[in-house]
Subunit: 334 residues, 2 copies
DNA sequence: ATTAGCACTCGCCCACCGAGAGTGCTAATT
DNA sequence: AATTAGCACTCTCGGTGGGCGAGTGCTAAT
């Protein structure tokens, strides 16, 4: 689709622009990369590349900057993924082994490592499967007439809720109720739970209602979201102007990032969304690299990077891939 | 300490500056507030106020701006706290009643309401007491040789950890182990737990170690931190320059806000920390209004607001106070 | 004690200018 | 036909300089 020379040139332009953030001009490219042509020739080629939409000029008499289309072509055809050094992988792996085995910490660590490694914002969600099943209910007395209802779901998810009763209820009653409910309903999904408990002391009804509520809530939700790297992404020069910065922060701060991240059309491998391909208005100048992780058909989460379109795709993509596989392995142990 | 007229003038200057963010000049103050003196007199008084350090000039021939000392004096002697309208209180109260009784949501809601109500950044932490006691251990089987260890602590705190065993362990063994541990150790604090279980199957030892680890971790930690209002605070004009903004965000993003928030010297009522009184370098231009909430001697959390020194103290302080009492009531029910 | 009057100080805005980088086009060269 | 040297042109960026306006401090009069 693009002549070889033009491809090579586009490659150079992108590499250059990604690392300097400055529009790249013909003379500069020639001098720096020992291209065997004169600036004039390069200019000619650049004009063509611009006509075809791969690069743009911010203004007349400035150098060229890659367009979304340019990056897209780069990611799909030009880029040679960097290979992560063995030492680098080892270092990352090592950090995971050093950590306590509290899952939350894994995800948080993954986000931190990723953000640091690619100097951009990183998101990791805890794994979720489509289905939510009850594993265990536990009732822990709090005060005379209240208890904590702890619900353990499949994939080690835990939700809790405070229950307030109309009258004092003693510990054994709670224990028995929990026993009954576990006996009857363990392994079922929210949809399969009855609205009324089969044998129906009032207590069981209250608890069941709470369980159903928590499970329904749960099956709607995505995994918990872990983030890191706000600082990294904000110090990128594209966000020097503060309005831009605020726009971006608004996106990053959202409780769920679902508005920003196209979870629906997530294919199997790595997905890359570039610039205006984003549905979200505020992210017109950002790219996302993300991947699913976890067992086929089982629980899966997301690991991704968000940064300006001027991003080191060749490094970011393999890094995301590596972390996805790492998390996949860790989660498989559960 | 300050003549009445000077106090009144300082009051005017602060009100004016807080609402406009513009240095306030003598003529302006006279015209707008119908002060029964001429600009010249006001200038004289302003000069005195400046000598005494209550206000400063950003540069010659600019109006005056309150100094930290000025705000301090205002907060302590001048300010008349606004009273929250009954309707406003009701609206806030109402939102809490509408919410599910999952505690996390209370705290998140509190932060959101507060941030919105005072147009600044708000923090709420879940309540913690000094002591951490074991209420209940639960072992939920995951795979053949792994289980989820769910630990319920006092005040409805829950922590979990994945346990990996060397060999398959069946469900009843887990149940029995949990029973033994609960029998022996429920009600104890981390320090009181033995390093080796008294009767010591290997399983019990593994679990006990995990429990101790979680509890020790827990007793160091503050409550979970809930935040809201990054957007509000960033759109304040003092953060228009993006470096300032980044500095602030770095503070706000920290996992624990402990660096920013002086939890140690927290007195009983509302604490106000103004500008350079902050130990944190990056917060030289920010103020914090915060309060403890919760039972006397029991578990307590923090509710606070962070914004530029130019803050509506007269509104912020009663709002923080109100939310603290509200959360106190809610938590007391647990 | 207050105030009118006045000279003075700065920050802000805007217009202007020159330097520099980069372009497109044309004509000459390979 | 492809490449390149040469050149005129364009546009951004940084610095300069003046005018405006808001605000001040001081002095002398009330």
């Amino acid at each position: 689709m693009l002549t070889e020379r033009r491809s090579a040139l586009l490659n150079l332009i992108i590499d250059e622009y990604v690392s300097t953030a400055l529009p790249v001009g013909s003379q500069y490219v020639v001098r720096k990369h020992h291209v065997p042509y004169s600036p004039a020739t390069v200019r000619l080629e650049m004009a063509r590349l611009e006509e075809e939409g791969y690069i743009v000029q911010p203004h007349t008499s400035a150098g060229r900057v890659p367009s979304d289309k340019g990056y897209r072509y780069y990611v799909e055809s030009l880029m040679e993924e960097e290979t992560l050094g063995l030492d680098e992988r080892e270092m990352i792996r090592h950090q995971f082994h050093q950590t306590e085995r509290a899952m939350e910490q894994w995800f948080q660590l993954a986000a931190a490592v990723l953000a640091h490694s690619v100097s951009n914002f990183a998101v990791v969600t805890s794994p979720r499967s489509r289905e939510t099943r009850l594993r265990h209910v536990q009732l822990v007395p709090l005060q005379e007439a209240s208890a904590l209802c702890v619900v353990v779901l499949n994939e080690a998810r835990i939700r809790q809720q405070v229950l307030a009763f109309r009258e004092p209820i003693d510990e054994t009653a709670l224990l028995l109720a929990a026993g009954r409910l576990n006996e009857l309903y363990a392994g079922l999904s929210a949809a399969e739970l009855p609205e009324q408990p089969d044998a129906a002391p009032e207590l069981d009804e209250t608890v069941l209602k709470a369980v159903v509520e928590l499970m329904e809530q749960e099956s709607l939700a995505l995994g918990d979201v872990f983030r890191d790297g706000v600082h990294e992404v904000l110090t990128q020069p594209e966000f020097a102007r503060s309005e831009r910065m605020i726009e971006l922060i608004d996106v990053l701060e959202q409780r769920t990032l679902s508005a920003a991240i196209p979870i629906g059309q997530l294919s199997d491998g790595i997905s890359v969304v570039i610039g205006a391909e984003n549905s979200n208005e505020a992210m017109r100048e950002c790219s996302i690299v993300l991947s699913r992780y976890g067992a086929e058909g089982g629980a899966s989460g997301i690991v991704g990077v968000l940064g300006p379109t001027r991003m080191r795709y060749a490094r970011t993509i393999p890094t995301v891939r590596y972390l996805a596989s790492l998390l996949g392995d860790l989660v498989a142990q559960i």
